[in-house]
């Protein structure tokens, strides 16, 4: 019981952060599924969503700011695809990747220009910022809201993909551009929709994430972006359930590592803290290396059937 009490806070924040990573990871995995592109700019779209919230909330009430920021983030994702990726549809994959890296830096530089590099405090969103107590552990409401909301959104998304006409088109396009266009599917529209969904989820993720984070800086998207990307690879890039499960595993493990010192000292395994929490971030990358070595296709990845 004592173990549970000590573990609980880390588990809770692990599940919460995991959900936030999941909302970002879905964007990576869907874009990869359809374009075979690792959209390096995705973490920065997440950052820009946070920054837009900072600025919009200075003049608009939250019930306007929240939908407006979601809308603007979706628009940003759509425009990035149209301007930076669509013209390169027939170019080698490497060119598109370089374009994505370019967009990533452009967004970071723009953010630096706008903020002057200062940490911007994220507005307090009522209710999800409230403090609650769960089995004796105090936390913010967002910790509980995140996994539930993530689960709901992912279920909705999977329903959309498996049971609607547009979802069927997305699955077809993910397999074969040319044959899809023979079916009369407008490839570019389907790709745009994919980016719109990814950005929508990243916008939601940013609201949940920054509610529990010191503030927004131009490079703040890099770490969660990278973790979400590793989650997507871990789950098998291209697979939505894989990305979600991967994100929760990474979020939970990372937070347990953060609590390792406390746990181990409490139970007398070690006499004094060893500073193990430093390795929380490193864990993600060790995990990445282990997957790439032992199961490059990830948990639920498709076999190496490259698109023709």
């Amino acid at each position: 019981m004592e173990l549970f009490d000590k573990l609980l806070p880390y588990l809770l924040s692990g599940i919460s952060v995991g959900g936030q990573y999941a909302l970002i990871a879905v964007g990576y995995t869907m874009v990869y599924g359809i374009l075979r592109l690792i959209n390096f700019a995705h973490g920065d779209v997440f950052m820009v969503a946070g920054l837009m919230m900072v600025y919009v909330s200075t003049w608009a009430p939250l019930y306007v700011a929240i939908p407006l920021v979601i809308l603007l983030t979706v628009l940003l994702g759509f425009v990035i695809e149209r301007v930076a990726y669509k013209p390169l549809r027939r170019a080698p994959r490497m060119s598109v990747m370089i374009s994505a890296i370019g967009v990533s830096y452009l967004l970071q530089n723009l953010a630096l220009y706008v903020t002057g590099g200062l940490n911007k405090n994220y507005p307090t969103i009522p209710w999800i910022s409230d403090t609650v107590s769960v089995f004796g552990a105090t936390t913010k409401m967002v910790t509980l809201v995140t996994p539930v909301l993530t689960f709901l959104l992912v279920v909705l998304l999977v329903q959309l993909i498996n049971h609607t006409k547009i979802g069927m088109a997305m699955r077809a396009v993910a397999r074969d551009f040319e044959t899809s266009s023979l079916m009369g599917i407008k490839i570019n529209n389907v790709i745009s929709i994919t980016f719109i969904i990814g950005s929508f989820l990243a916008a939601i993720g940013s609201m949940l994430f920054f509610t529990n984070y010191p503030g927004v800086t131009p490079t703040v998207g890099a770490m969660p972006g990278l973790k979400a990307f590793v989650a997507a690879v871990f789950g098998g890039i291209g697979s939505i359930p894989g990305a979600v499960i991967g994100a929760f595993i990474i979020g939970i493990c990372e937070n347990i590592i953060k609590g390792l010192d406390t746990l181990l000292t409490t139970f007398g395994v070690i006499q004094q803290p060893l500073g193990l929490s430093t390795f929380a971030d490193a864990f993600t990358f060790v995990l990445l290396i282990v997957i790439l070595v032992f199961k490059p296709t990830g948990l639920f990845g498709e076999k190496a059937t490259d698109k023709v």
């Binding site: 069927m168 088109a169 699955r171 077809a172 899809s180 009369g184 599917i185």
Partner: protein
Amino acid sequence: MSGVILSIKDLQVSYGGIEAVKGVSFDVHEGEIVTLIGANGAGKSSTLRSIVGLVRPRAGQIVFDGEDITGQDTTNIVKKGITLVPEGRRIFPDLTVLENLKVGAYMRRDRLDEDIEWVYSLFPRLRERSWQAGGTLSGGEQQMLAVGRALMSRPKLLMMDEPSLGLAPIIVRDIFSIINEIRKRGVTILLIEQNANMALQTADTGYVLETGRITISGTGAELLSNEAVQAAYLGT
């Protein structure tokens, strides 16, 4: 004879420096089965792919139903009533058989029940496998599904790129009898084949394509009895 539905004038296709099609002209009449036969690399696929806008012709004109469609987007051309059963069938492997049929009707907004029923009556094996993933079908079943999927768009012109490739002779015979069945519904058919024998027996009109040019033309029966065709394509 009824009206010309598809008219190809001096079509040229090249890939970089390679000229694949070097000035091909032919007409397809409404309700006809037309076949283009030729050896591997003769330019058959390139001709079909340029008709449906998957490759941009270097020169020439493609007129469908009285409208110049040269160089238009594939989705636009498909909307006008042309469909292609591509080489190698290109079934969507992780869509079910039924979804593969539905995706074939992607542009339509009306009810599909009757058409699905028609396709299932043409290919009863597909009905049995309705919920199976397309990728789990045998080669012959995939070809049936590819034809069924193409029919779902209610095409005026159905083009097929080597439907018999890699299939057992019995299945090939099945497919060709169904091609006749489809024609009875008023669908015009443009068929390309290396398997010249079946194609010429089925077709009203045939053309022989050699290294990007049409060298012989005539009715299916005329080509079957043509000595040059027999020597080169019928193995007799």
